[in-house]
Symmetry: C2
Subunit: 418 residues, 2 copies
């Protein structure tokens, strides 16, 4: 990296943006020479998209195609389109993406959404539109979640997102603060960002290996409003950090990433869990979530705000009220340390222990990618159109690992690894 | 239209933009209720794209998907991507567009390209990239050129295009002048643009019908440096204005459009033609073109500037030195009246009578879309990889229609219909 010798405090915004693009392409995506790249970005993230395009071509990309989305156009649809049209999604575009992945393309998403974009829109329309997209996106998304291709998500600050995170600051100050948080958590501030990422990645792998050796049957959570036991899937596999995709490229799918995670057993969740942060779900804020599980299934769901959206979410399909992911993140993670609520899963899920409603990752089972849907279900892996992470970690959360013999071993105390 | 009652001189830019979007959707595209819309636009044309999106939803669009292109990203590819990658095109995306058209989507393109974007890039790379796109775009493009779906092209001013048209003006003045020219030629300045378009469309249809009844064997051109007889193809069909697409929707494919046009006979062009405007071809200006035909074929080609590029162009293939289109446009057309050279076919071909080197339109023959390549050639339709329009009309051009009996009937005098 040409700017590595410069003291990081002296870097201009443009230089930091360039570094972010470079680690996204080289470390996050692990783009291979001659590979095609499909990028998704919003019109508010053009500067980062251009820097990524540049670094992708420098890394030997054969072709970079960016699919830009426009928040203004999305809002016009909600306000003007016929009610009956909300079951429509551009299947032809998602099929196209799937075809690109199958023919060897890598995938990069720039995250930067306005967390409350759809908060004033009809939840019925939002739900139907989301369901329609989930359905047509599924074949392409499976190539991503099964890690058949190299992919990554990286963030760009945007005015609307910054205003949500820093509501009391002037727009330019908020934007600048959000960029700082993104640069810091993406390790762009390190003297050598690429080296810093490699060290961090090794640490996550070591933690996952430790848990894989333990082979816990379940995790026991205790904290304010939380008393919850979550069984792990048979042959579950803890993952964290980078992974070698089916196409042979090594990628770190999320930048930042601080979690180790695995597949819980869809029929083995019991007790009450209270979210420790609001959940921003496709434009709506859901606050004060408290949920009770019996036999893996949500039997009671409450929220102090956004209850209707929560209810619609877990009514999506049968798997939407069961868990598909469990992730452990120490409370001292750099993102948690920032004390910020980002209203963005990429950041907030890396600030706290979390669980996810919906679809499980088959990659979080031993040889999971070779199993049929029936075999996956038999091991406890959940199936759903949705995958929604919500935060249950805090500095007051204790977690024990429960061995197959039923012994409790302390894993986390007050939010930190023991 | 809510602003129809306002005197057009008092309209703000935003109001004119809104009117342009409305005629594009209602008259150009003829979007039907419940129809999906696929739009292509560059990042420099977002304001018009948003207004079109709004009017499409107001007209009952079920879904509007815009594929944005970025000139900056295109240039990065030319400057940084591996040489061997220029045969690559995003076939998955064009296949997706084709699938959208087949499932009922309409198509709108916003034109606004920088005429000299690639003028400094390696012509070899440009040629290969264009050929790669032509190849993968072909199946989707055929649905468009065969008018199986409703489609239209409408223009947005962009800074780079405006700088080409008004090189002596300050950037903001140039942009504003180009917008004025677009608004005027798109009839947005009329008191009731929708009504003005309907009247204009009826006029073009009437003119094409007149010519179709005449069934001229040839056209005879006389003007400064021009003395030229051009035979028309057997079963030629004059077209102009709107058309009912295969999906039943009525659309006007180009906004603006001033031409009536048909297919000349590839073996029946004799005499000398002098171009009346410079030709902008792939970033190069060709000026002072004078060409002599014998038996349909160019036997002598001169240009006062860009002679080499002209020679290369007509050497592309055998069909490149024969004619594939003849179009009649009165010198009083609003675009000709502006006196501007737009470096954009959508405008320049509607400013003057023109002929095109290369590929003929099969739709300009009776039942042409049902004919085989051999049958098309037998009727005189030309075949080539290129289709390059050049302007031969002026206020000094006279044109006669030559009947099958050999009688000359005056069609145009001093550039105007008699
Ligand atoms: Zn997670
Ligand atoms: Zn997750
Ligand atoms: Zn023409
Ligand atoms: Zn033409």
């Amino acid at each position: 990296m040409t700017t590595a010798a410069v003291a990081t405090e002296q870097l201009t915004h443009e230089q930091k943006l360039d570094r972010l693009a470079e680690v996204a392409v080289r470390v996050g995506l692990g783009l291979e020479r001659g590979q095609e790249l499909v990028m998704t970005a919003s019109l508010d993230t053009v500067p980062l998209a251009r820097r990524i395009t540049e670094h992708a071509y420098r890394a030997g990309a054969s072709l970079v195609t960016t699919l830009f989305s426009d928040d203004e156009a999305a809002l016009m649809r909600y306000r003007l389109a016929p009610y009956e049209s909300f079951d429509r999604a551009p299947g032809w575009l998602y099929d196209g993406m799937g075809a690109a992945f199958k023919s060897g393309a890598a995938r990069l998403a720039i995250a930067g959404a306005n967390p409350s974009l759809l908060s004033n829109e009809d939840p019925e329309k939002v739900g139907r539109a989301n369901r329609a997209v989930s359905k047509v996106y599924r074949p392409a998304l499976e190539l991503i979640t099964r890690h058949e291709i190299n992919w990554t998500i990286v963030a760009s600050a945007t005015p609307a997102w910054a205003a949500s995170v820093f509501p009391d600051d002037a727009p330019d100050v908020a934007l600048s603060k959000l960029w700082d948080a993104i640069f810091a958590s993406s390790r762009v501030d390190a003297d050598d960002p690429v080296a810093a990422w490699k060290t961090h990645d090794a640490g996550l792998h070591k933690r996952a290996e430790f848990l894989n050796k333990k082979r816990y049957a379940a995790l026991q959570y205790r904290g304010p409003g939380t008393d919850f036991r979550l069984g792990l899937a048979d042959d579950h596999l803890w993952l964290g950090g980078g992974t070698t995709a089916g196409n042979g490229a090594y990628c770190i799918p999320n930048m930042p990433t601080e979690e180790v995670f695995t597949t819980p057993h869809k029929d083995r969740a019991d007790g009450t869990v209270t979210a420790t942060k609001p959940l921003s779900h496709q434009g709506t804020m859901i606050e004060g979530i408290q949920v009770r599980f019996e036999g893996g299934r949500i039997v009671e769901a409450r929220a102090t705000k956004g209850q209707e959206v929560l209810q619609k979410l877990i009514d999506t399909d049968d798997g939407a009220r069961r868990l598909g992911e469990v992730a452990l993140v120490p409370h001292s993670s750099p993102i948690a340390a920032s004390g910020l609520l980002f209203f963005n899963t990429l950041f907030d899920e890396n600030a706290a222990c979390h669980i996810a409603l919906g679809q499980a990752y088959s990659s979080c089972l031993i040889d999971g990618d070779k199993l049929t849907p029936v075999q996956l279900a038999a091991k406890g892996a959940n199936d759903s159109l949705i995958h929604v992470d919500w935060m249950i970690g805090s500095d007051k959360l204790d977690i024990d690992g429960i061995t197959s013999a039923g012994t409790a071993e302390p894993l986390m105390r007050n939010g930190e690894w023991v």
